[in-house]
C-alpha cells in the first residue's frame, strides 16, 4: 500500500518542486504565528509533566528522610546526602558489579555472535535467509516467563543457580535476535564495491568482517549494543528467579531493598537514581541510536 503511495508522492514531488520552491521558501520565512507559540508551550507542558516524576525522584533522593515523608510536598527542604549514604551502607556494590558483568559481557557476546550471523543473512546470503530472520524474531515473542521453570530446573541440575554466568548466557539469548535484525539491516547497506575490493585482495571472512565491514557499520553496532545493554541492565524476572545472594543484580537488590529496610523514601529514591544512572547516561548520549535499536533497525 505505502509503496504506491510513495511513488505517487515522488511523482508529484518532481512535478511541483521546481515551480513551488519560491513559495515554499516564503512559507518558511513566515514570522512566528500564535499557533507556533501555543503548540510550543503545550509541548513544554507535556514534556515537564512526563519528566516531573523523575525530577521528584531526584529531589527526594537529596532530602532528609523526615523532609521526604511529609504530608505536603516540601520542595525547598535542605539538600543532604543521607539517602545516598544509607543506600551505600546497604552494600549495593556487589549487585551493581553483577549487573555490569551480566549486561556488558552479554552485550559483547551478542555482538560477537550476531555480527557474523548478520553477514550470512545480508551479504553472502544463505538459502531461506528470510525464514531464519523470522525464526529469530519469533523467539523474541515467546514470553520469558513460559520458559523460566525449565531454565530454573536445568540450572538447578547443573549447579548453575545463583551464578552470574547463567544470567550472561540467558541475556545473550534474549538479546541476540534484536541484534541480528538490526545488524542485518545495517550490513545490507554496505556498498558492494567495497566487498568486491576486499575479495580481490583475498581477505578471508574474519578479515573482511573486522577490517572492511565493521568500520562501516559501527553506528549500527553501537545502536545494537546500546539497546542490548539497556534490556539486560533492566531485566528483573530471570534474575529474580535464578539468583539470590551471590549473583543478584541491581534490580533484584532494589526489590529486596524495600522489604528488608522498611520504607525510607529518600533512600529508595537515591537507590533508584543510582541504579538508573547507567541507562540514563547511555540513553541520553545516544538518543538517535535508541530509536534505531528500539525499532530493531527498521527506523534509521
Amino acid at each position: 500500500m505505502s509503496s504506491t503511495e510513495q511513488e505517487d508522492l515522488t511523482a508529484g514531488e518532481q512535478k511541483k518542486q521546481e515551480e513551488r520552491v519560491e513559495e515554499v521558501q516564503q512559507m518558511n520565512r513566515k514570522p512566528r504565528s500564535t499557533s507556533t507559540i501555543v503548540f510550543g508551550l503545550l509541548a513544554w507542558l507535556i514534556g515537564l509533566t512526563f519528566v516531573a516524576p523523575v525530577l521528584w525522584m531526584v529531589l527526594t533522593s537529596f532530602h532528609a528522610e523526615t523532609d521526604a515523608a511529609t504530608r505536603t510536598p516540601n520542595f525547598f527542604a535542605p539538600l543532604v546526602l543521607d539517602g545516598y549514604r544509607s543506600f551505600w551502607n546497604a552494600g549495593p556494590l556487589p549487585p551493581l558489579i553483577n549487573s555490569a558483568t551480566a549486561s556488558l559481557v552479554s552485550t559483547a557476546l551478542v555482538i560477537l555472535l550476531a555480527f557474523p550471523a548478520a553477514y550470512a543473512l545480508s551479504i553472502k546470503r544463505i538459502d531461506k535467509w528470510t525464514d531464519v530472520m523470522f525464526f529469530f524474531l519469533s523467539t523474541k515473542m515467546l514470553p520469558i516467563v513460559a520458559a523460566i521453570l525449565p531454565l530454573y530446573l536445568i540450572a538447578l541440575e547443573l549447579n548453575l543457580l545463583d551464578n552470574i554466568f547463567t544470567l550472561v548466557f540467558l541475556y545473550t539469548a534474549m538479546n541476540l535476535p534484536i541484534a541480528i535484525w538490526m545488524l542485518q539491516s545495517f550490513l545490507a547497506e554496505v556498498p558492494v564495491e567495497m566487498l568486491e575490493a576486499a575479495q580481490v585482495d583475498g581477505a578471508g571472512l574474519i578479515r573482511t568482517l573486522v577490517s572492511v565491514i565493521a568500520p562501516v557499520v559501527m553506528p549500527g553496532i553501537a545502536a545494537a549494543a546500546l539497546i542490548c545493554f539497556i534490556f539486560s541492565w533492566n531485566e528483573l524476572l530471570i534474575a529474580r528467579v535464578l539468583t539470590s545472594t551471590v549473583a543478584g543484580t541491581a534490580p533484584v537488590f532494589l526489590t529486596g531493598f524495600v522489604t528488608s529496610q522498611g520504607l525510607f523514601l529518600a533512600q529508595v529514591c537515591a537507590a533508584s537514581v543510582v541504579i538508573s544512572l547507567p541507562v540514563l547516561v547511555a540513553g541520553f548520549a545516544a538518543q538517535d541510536k535508541l530509536v534505531q535499536g528500539l525499532s530493531m533497525g527498521a527506523v534509521k
Binding site: 516524576p53 557474523p116 513460559a146 534490580p251
Partner: protein
C-alpha cells in the same frame, strides 16, 4: 503462519541471490551457513529447548513438595488452568493491561510526536525530557510511583492535592482504590516515550516538500494529517504498537512492585511466577506458560506480518 512462510518462499525464488546460491556446491553452501550457525545454535538451545521442556512438563503431574508423585497427567493441568478463577482472571487482566497501555501510549505518543515535529524554542530539551521515563530502570520506576507518588500519606499526588485544597482535599489511596489503573498509568508513562520516538522518526522521514506543496495547493492541516501524514505513518504505528505489545504482555516488574498481584492485578507472567514460587505446582505453571505462549503467538502473527511488510519495503 503458513501464509507468511509461503510468501517468503515465493519471494525467495524470485530473487536473483537465491537462484544463484541454489547452484552452489554443497560445501560452498555450508561455508555460507558457517557464520550463522553459532548464533542459531545458541538461540535454539536457550529458547527452544526450554519451551519444549515446558510443553512436556505441562502434561505431567508434578508438584515440588511431592517429588515421588510424578506421572502423566493428560490435560488435567490445562483443565486446572482454565478452571482456576485466578488463572482466568490473569488472562483477562493481561489482555486489558496490554490493550489499554499500548493504545493509550500510542495515542499520547502520536500527539507528542506531532508536537515535537514542529519548530519551537527548546525542542531538543523537550525531546530529551520526553525520553527520560523510558530510561528509568522499570523496577525503580515502579518503586518511585508506588512510594513517592501514589502513597496516600506522603506521596506527591495527595501532597499536591493537600497543597491546593488544604487538609480536606479529596485525597485517595491511589493504588488500593483502583489498582489496575494505577499500574496502567505508570506503564503508560514508561511506554509513551517508546511510541513517541518511533513515530517521530516516522514523521521526520516524511517528504516535507510534498506536504508544503499540498499546503500551497490549499489543503488544510486536517486534510494533510489524514491523507498524507497518517498513511505515511501507518507502518510506524503498527511497528510501535506491536513491539510495545510484545513487551507489555510480558510485563512483570510493575505488577510485582506496585501490587504484588493483589487487588485483581495479577497478569499471566505474575500468576505463573506465583504458581511456581508459592504453590510449587510445576505442572500447572507450565500449562499456564503454554497458554501464555499461545496467546502471544496470536499477537506475534500480526507482528510477523507487519515486520514482513516493512522488511520487504526495505529490501527493495
Amino acid at each position: 503462519m503458513s501464509s507468511t512462510t509461503t510468501a517468503t518462499e515465493v519471494e525467495d525464488d524470485t530473487t536473483s541471490s537465491s537462484t544463484r546460491s541454489s547452484t552452489l556446491s554443497r560445501s560452498a553452501r555450508w561455508a555460507r551457513r558457517a557464520p550463522l550457525l553459532p548464533a542459531l545454535i545458541f538461540v535454539i538451545i536457550l529458547t527452544q529447548v526450554p519451551m519444549i521442556v515446558t510443553l512436556i512438563i505441562s502434561f505431567t503431574n508434578w508438584v515440588a513438595f511431592r517429588p515421588d508423585d510424578r506421572g502423566f497427567a493428560g490435560l488435567d493441568n490445562y483443565r486446572a488452568v482454565f478452571g482456576d478463577p485466578e488463572a482466568r482472571s490473569a488472562v483477562f487482566v493481561t489482555i486489558i493491561l496490554t490493550v489499554t497501555v499500548v493504545l493509550a501510549s500510542l495515542l499520547i505518543g502520536l500527539g507528542i510526536a506531532l508536537l515535537l515535529d514542529r519548530q519551537f524554542f527548546g525542542r531538543g530539551i523537550v525531546r530529551t525530557m520526553m525520553i527520560t521515563p523510558f530510561l528509568i530502570v522499570p523496577v525503580a520506576a515502579a518503586l518511585v510511583w508506588k512510594h513517592a507518588l501514589y502513597n496516600p500519606s506522603y506521596g506527591l499526588f495527595n501532597g499536591i492535592l493537600r497543597l491546593l485544597f488544604g487538609e480536606n482535599a479529596p485525597t485517595r489511596d491511589w493504588i488500593s482504590s483502583n489498582a489496575l489503573i494505577a499500574i496502567e498509568v505508570s506503564l503508560i508513562w514508561q511506554w509513551t516515550p517508546f511510541m513517541m520516538l518511533i513515530l517521530l522518526a516516522g514523521l521526520q522521514s516524511r517528504p516535507m516538500d510534498v506536504v508544503e506543496a499540498a499546503r500551497i495547493d490549499g489543503a488544510n492541516a486536517w486534510q494533510i494529517f489524514f491523507h498524507m501524514t497518517l498513511p505515511h505513518l501507518r507502518p510506524y504505528i503498527e511497528l510501535a504498537g506491536l513491539l510495545g505489545a510484545i513487551y507489555v504482555v510480558q510485563n512483570f516488574d510493575h505488577v510485582f512492585t506496585l501490587t504484588a498481584g493483589a487487588l485483581g492485578t495479577a497478569n499471566l507472567p505474575y500468576h505463573i511466577y506465583q504458581t511456581l514460587l508459592s504453590a510449587q505446582d510445576y505442572g500447572e505453571a507450565s500449562a499456564a506458560g503454554v497458554v501464555t505462549v499461545f496467546g502471544t503467538i496470536i499477537i506475534a502473527m500480526f507482528a510477523l506480518k507487519t515486520a514482513f511488510s516493512l522488511f520487504q519495503e526495505e529490501s527493495r
